[in-house]
Subunit: 255 residues, 2 copies
């Protein structure tokens, strides 16, 4: 029985996709079977792993709105041990279409249930909103990972995010817990980054020790369709996500 | 009769809020009366101008879902000539609540109509999605301004954004046109930024000449509740938005 982790933050551009992809690859690199679910209509995680967002066949959208088995849409990636449930272009319409579907918040949970036994870790990359796709991911997950960019505006939404997670825990998924906050795009030369770090560690005692530095190699990797471990394994970004994987595995007490 | 410009990009963290706030302040600095509408539930534009997201009183949410006059919610800011229609916390619920409201896509347009005569320029800061709030902004606007971060992942969504703008033009707002693309967070030292710039200028001939450099002063300004022109008027970021304002005014043939 594996663990499902939703990577969530409604603030845009804070490193959700980069964290989901890089962490998934780091965990697969340790011999774990990992599934990455791309629940963002932008399908950035799908293209960052070199896959094309599904046009014709069934994908996540068809499993949420229809009854298509998600397992049929799962593809292997270039990284051994890492599979992907790609986003489909129609996913953008799912937020509105799901509004009137029965048990709308549980569609993703139902779609993932048949796959749970196959993977040690399932990561869900979420869009920058707290709409029905993100609520579906929170209802399907055991834990939440919150990337926070070391910038002022990224702090603002954390209270709202915590409230939403609490609402989901009370109404949809009692076992949901916050695994932790990961500081991203950290530039230690600026006062702002250090101030934000101090503020975050002060308010959230489950902030990971590993901090992801700002590193241009991380932003280049998606254009090659490769996770950072395959694009530039010795870069500061790759090493930081390796440390994060170590910390996470220690906490999860996974091999 | 003023011009209404929606600042839109579903990709998160590309500089929509920073562009809307900085441009609004630069235009107000030239003696124009400017209204900034914060249509993002994160209410970043509201706090970047030193205001608090409205808790009790009526704001944009009440004008979209109810019949409250938006003019009652407009506040003056520290920048002379710049008014703000603040976001309200309930705005997060508007995407779902608007789904079953009559003429749901035109609620923002109706709310802004009584205010049109008072402002030379109205800028609407949008959330990182193509949901009903953004569609409302596109239906209410004459023009669209698209900030694009000089990064690979930011390129991916432009085709989807263009399609959505075309759909709105055909079904909701025939006079909508794209004013242009603004490259943001541009770090000329990286190949990636130069490649993205070449790609964008190649595909979109209405890309502004003015490019906004990556500048930590821009990301510090919101923590002081000030637009960059008041926080650090001689910074590279402030000067870049001044040039952008010049270019925009030339194109709009405004004084
Ligand atoms: N540590 C880092 N250093 C430098 N660039 C980074 C880093 N992490 C992410 N990036 C880049 O910053 C941009 C935003 O990151 P990313 O797309 O992962 O954020 P996101 O939260 O998934 O965005 P969205 O809200 O649109 O889903 C991307 O262009 C990415 O390549
Ligand atoms: N030119 C710049 N140089 C450095 N930092 C910048 C620049 N423009 C914006 N930022 C910072 O980058 C982050 C993202 O910018 P901003 O919040 O304006 O983007 P956005 O597109 O409005 O995000 P969202 O999608 O969440 O609405 C913020 O922390 C902001 O302060
Ligand atoms: Mg993403
Ligand atoms: Mg914004």
């Amino acid at each position: 029985m594996g663990v499902t982790i939703a990577v969530v933050n409604q603030k845009g551009g804070v490193g959700k996709t980069t964290t989901a992809v890089s962490l998934a690859a780091a965990l697969a690199g340790r011999g774990l079977r990992v599934l990455l679910v791309d629940a963002d209509p932008q399908s950035n995680a799908t293209s960052a792993l070199g896959q094309a967002a599904i046009r014709g066949e069934a994908g996540l959208y068809e499993s949420l709105v229809g009854d298509q088995a998600l397992g049929d849409a799962v593809v292997a990636t270039d990284t051994p041990g890492l599979d992907l449930a790609p986003a489909t272009l129609h996913l953008a319409g799912a937020e509105v279409e799901l509004v009137s579907v029965m048990a709308r918040e549980f569609r993703m949970r139902r779609a993932l249930e048949p796959l749970a036994g196959r993977y040690a870790v399932t990561l869900i990359d979420c869009p920058p909103s707290l709409g029905l796709l993100t609520v579906n991911a929170l209802a399907a997950a055991h834990e939440v990972l919150i990337p926070v960019q070391a910038e002022y505006l990224a702090l603002e939404g954390l209270a709202h995010l915590s409230q939403t997670i609490e609402l989901v825990r009370r109404n949809l998924n009692p076992e949901l817990s916050v695994r932790g906050i990961v500081l991203t795009m950290f530039d230690g030369r600026t006062n702002l980054a250090r101030e934000v770090e101090a503020e975050v560690r002060n308010h959230f005692d489950n902030t990971f020790h590993s901090v992801i530095p700002r590193s241009v190699r991380l932003s280049e990797a998606p254009s090659h369709g490769l996770p950072i471990q395959r694009y530039d394994p010795r870069s500061a970004g790759a090493e930081a996500y390796e440390r994060l994987a170590d910390e996470l595995l220690e906490q999860l007490a996974l091999p």
